[in-house]
């Protein structure tokens, strides 16, 4: 099963070429040119990872991260930034980002992080399924 990614950046040239390269690596990628568009997409679809630019017009990456996490606390977000600083990294992690990658990004590194996000999501799903089964067993008393 291919990794399903939502790529969010206001630079449409960047979105197009990055998406093309990801597709060539069999990553199932959807693009959004704004945080608002991304928020609307995650309501309809489930993604293994959201790759989110930190500096975007109107709603920046940190605000978008908070909004994404409030809609889906399990969502795996990788932030893209022009200048990765320790302070930014710590802030992002505190808000629940999975990772922070500096632009220009190495696609090999990014693809590896997407795989890790997928694995993390699977673990979370398994854990939730297990909890659900345990809850059903306890309630039904089988």
């Amino acid at each position: 099963m291919s990794d399903k990614v939502l790529l969010v950046d206001d630079e449409t040239d960047f979105l197009e070429v990055m998406a093309e390269r990801m597709k060539a690596r069999e990553i199932d990628v959807t693009t959004a040119a704004s945080a608002k568009e991304a928020l609307s997409l995650i309501e309809k679809e489930s993604y293994d990872a959201v790759i989110l630019d930190l500096q975007m017009p109107e709603m920046n990456g940190i605000e978008a991260l908070k909004a994404l996490k409030s809609k889906n606390p399990d969502i795996q977000v990788i932030l893209l930034t022009g200048h990765a600083t320790v302070q930014k990294g710590v802030e992002a992690m505190k808000l629940g980002a999975m990772d922070l990658v500096e632009k220009p990004a190495d696609l090999k590194v990014l693809a590896e992080k997407i795989r890790k996000a997928h694995a993390k999501k699977m673990v979370l799903i398994e854990k939730k399924t297990e909890e659900k089964i345990r809850s059903i067993i306890t309630q039904k008393g089988w």
Partner: protein, 231 residues
């Protein structure tokens, strides 16, 4: 009289320099972010060419149209980065002459270019209303640019997303006026004016400039002398 040590320099004397450093930092940071975006796109196109070359090595023909398209997109980003660096260079040289005769409409256009990213990030559009005719004032160019930036930055930060800021300049009896106008104000003009004055006080003082609300037009109007007094 013994020369004064640095510790004796008062906050007021230091204030324009502090403002200037903050301005320099803010503009440099904005430029570096813009450059990073252009570089990131060039990087992805270089990666795409590598991908296409790898496919060609494995026997899959490369469409020349795709290569041309990539070359065009790289050239566009190079042009974009070149424009950013030109502005950066002009900005860096704005500190060269403490006092200089400057073309004000030209400075306003440059200000709009420097503030474009900040405006875009806030969802604000800058519209220039500069007339073709040029006119000049003898002033402190770096501090004047700093003052204009502070006015525009404060306005951008205090108006709602989607708003349009118009700015222009006209010669007047005193020297020259620069005006900033926005129709979608949520706040009283006085609140914005006070916010500008609070931040720009040292610059207004060093430039012998004044900022008021134009009662006729409702614009924020900045006035600078034709020739700075102590030049």
């Amino acid at each position: 009289m013994a020369p004064s040590s640095s510790s004796e320099v008062s906050v007021a004397e230091d204030a324009p320099a502090v403002c200037g450093l903050q301005f320099f930092g803010a503009v440099s940071a904005s430029i570096s972010h813009e450059l990073k975006n252009a570089i990131a796109i060039v990087n992805e196109h270089a990666g795409l060419l590598e991908d296409l070359a790898a496919l060609a090595e494995r026997g899959r023909p490369v469409d020349p149209k795709r290569l041309k398209q990539t070359a065009t997109q790289i050239a566009r980003q190079v042009q974009r980065a070149d424009g950013i660096i030109r502005n950066m260079n002009r900005f860096a040289h704005s500190i060269d002459d403490p006092v200089k005769t400057v073309d004000l409409p030209d400075m306003i256009c440059f200000l709009a270019a420097l503030a474009e990213r900040k405006a875009t990030m806030a969802g604000v559009v800058i519209e220039l209303a500069c007339r073709d005719a040029s006119f000049s004032v003898q002033t402190r160019p770096f501090f004047l640019l700093n003052l204009l930036w502070l006015c525009l930055k404060t306005l951008i930060e205090m108006i709602p997303s989607g708003a349009v800021v118009q700015l222009g300049t006209d010669p007047n009896d005193r020297g020259a006026g620069v005006w900033f106008s926005c129709e979608n104000l949520d706040l009283p003009e006085e609140t914005i004016l006070n916010a500008i004055r609070k931040q720009a006080e040292p610059l207004l003082c060093v430039l012998n400039a004044d900022v008021v609300i134009d009662r006729v037009t409702g614009c924020i109007a900045l006035s600078v002398p034709k020739i700075i007094c102590d030049a």
